[in-house]
């Protein structure tokens, strides 16, 4: 079974993602010490809390995270775990890891913020992560900010919430989702299963 490190950066509920990965036959391990990232077959940065606090708590994992990426190990960032992969966020006016070029900005005027609830995916291009997912399938979103990648070709799916926003961004072994697959019932489990399938095990 693929050992999947879930990074615990001290910001709350990791039980859902842990249980969901078990449900799709992964072998999740909650890791709060950066040294323990080595040896993982895949890494998940879960999505809880605010950008600034998240970055502060994640910074000690920085070197190991870059090693993981360079080694080609699959990584999945969820929600805030997606945002921290970008250059900079308007939330907390704070720099991210810059693994994907682009910024994180606030949802537009005229919609209720946060976006909270189930929204449809529009699939832009083929992706192993989205195998078995159909255009129009619903996923659970909770966020006030969204990612704007410089390279639009990295966007594999969008969702419409006042603006057509990046719901799934993928670059090599980095996968990032704005919604919460661990809260998106059966369709979310399919995505996590696909992610577990990208590991070498």
């Amino acid at each position: 079974m693929a050992m999947i490190a879930i990074i615990d950066y001290g910001m709350g509920n990791l039980r859902s993602i842990y249980n969901a990965l078990i449900n799709v036959n992964g072998d999740p391990v909650i890791v709060s010490d950066s040294a323990k990232l080595s040896g993982a077959d895949a890494v998940v940065i879960p999505g809880v809390g605010s950008f600034g606090d998240g970055m502060n708590n994640l910074r000690p994992f920085g070197d190991e995270l870059f090693d993981v990426i360079n080694d080609g190990i699959p990584m999945l960032g969820i929600c805030i775990g997606m945002h921290v992969l970008f250059d900079w966020s308007e939330e907390s006016n704070c720099a991210g890891f810059g693994l994907i070029k682009g910024d994180v900005i606030r949802l537009p005027e005229g919609v209720k913020v946060p976006q909270m609830g189930w929204n449809e995916l529009r699939i832009c291009c083929d992706s192993d992560l989205l195998s078995g997912i159909n255009d129009g399938d619903f996923f659970y979103f909770v966020h006030s900010y969204y990612c704007v990648p410089e390279n639009k070709h990295t966007i594999t799916a969008t969702t419409d919430y006042g603006v057509d926003l990046a719901a799934v961004v993928e670059k090599d072994n980095i996968h990032a989702v704005q919604f919460h697959p661990e809260k998106s019932s059966n369709k979310g489990l399919i995505i996590l299963k696909n992610f577990v399938g990208t590991t070498k095990c």
Binding site: N13, R15, V48, G49, S50, M116, W118, Y140, S144, S185
Partner: protein, 270 residues
């Protein structure tokens, strides 16, 4: 486009080892509806968008039972889970989150100490913080209150505590706006005039609150049939509708409700 949410609410009596879901019928008789995590699983299969577990016992020794209920539920049910009833401190909130809750719902404790709302949203995020407002109509003119026209006459809405047993003098519309500023991410709005009656949601209350804030509002209290749910989505801009008894006793499944809504032009997840 974001779908309108259908949220079954599980009122949990935790004076039993596994807890049990109950529903008051006409305020007094209590009917037994099932074991919380089993019902939760059933609602997931039916396509519920979210679940709310309310501790109606809300005494301290029962908190452990709620943790077990949430732990057990979150093993198999992958949708947002909210815990409410008896959350009085940051520590209570943390206990709920550690058990697997995604949001906590607070009412009494934050009316008494509004700063707690700021603290919960600061530590756990606005998305994790649901403010429950239990509002009752007051047909009297009072200065400083937001008066609203209704078919029954002009009224304002007063916030109540302890399931409508105590009143605060606080205007629900003003409190909703303050709660948004303090970091609430969702408003669970219950009409104390309609709760348990099956006469339908209080449309004027729901409209007044959801037009006053920019955060999602969940309509609650009074749902007795499919038409009531359709009505609240057609006449107000609420994000979600909550119901309890129509689901617990098998009158309708969540999927039946959603199919009906979709047929009538409401955007739902099917």
């Amino acid at each position: 486009m974001l779908a309108k949410r259908i949220i079954p609410c599980l009122d949990c009596d935790l004076g039993f080892p596994l807890g049990r879901v109950v529903k008051g019928v006409r305020f007094k008789q209590i009917r037994y509806a099932g074991i919380p995590w089993e019902l939760a699983q059933e609602y997931d299969n039916q396509g519920a968008d979210e679940l709310i577990f309310l501790d109606i016992t809300a005494s301290h020794e029962r908190r452990e039972t709620m943790s077990k209920v949430i732990e057990k539920t979150s093993e198999n049910v992958f949708m947002p889970l909210t815990v409410g009833g008896g959350i009085r401190s940051l520590k209570d909130a943390r206990t709920a989150f550690n058990a697997g809750a995604d949001k906590v719902s607070v009412n009494t404790a934050v009316i008494k100490n509004p700063d707690l709302l700021n603290e919960i949203s600061k530590y756990f995020g606005t998305q994790a913080c649901v403010i429950a407002i239990d509002a009752k109509r007051r047909y009297e003119h009072k200065t400083g209150k937001e008066m609203v026209d209704t078919p029954q006459g002009e009224c304002w809405f007063e916030c109540s505590l302890y399931g409508g047993r105590e009143f605060t003098g606080i205007d629900a519309i003003q409190w909703a706006m303050e709660a948004e500023e303090r970091g609430a991410g969702d408003i669970m709005l219950t009409s104390m005039d309609r709760d348990g009656t099956k006469d339908g949601y209080d449309i004027e209350l729901t409209k007044a609150i959801s037009n006053s804030v920019n955060i999602p509002v969940i309509a609650s209290g009074g749902c007795g049939n499919l038409e009531h749910i359709l009505e609240v989505f057609k006449k107000t801009n609420v994000s979600a509708a909550l119901a309890a008894s129509i689901f617990h006793f098998g009158e309708y499944t969540v999927s039946e409700v959603k199919e009906y809504l979709k047929k009538n032009g409401v955007h739902v997840r099917l």
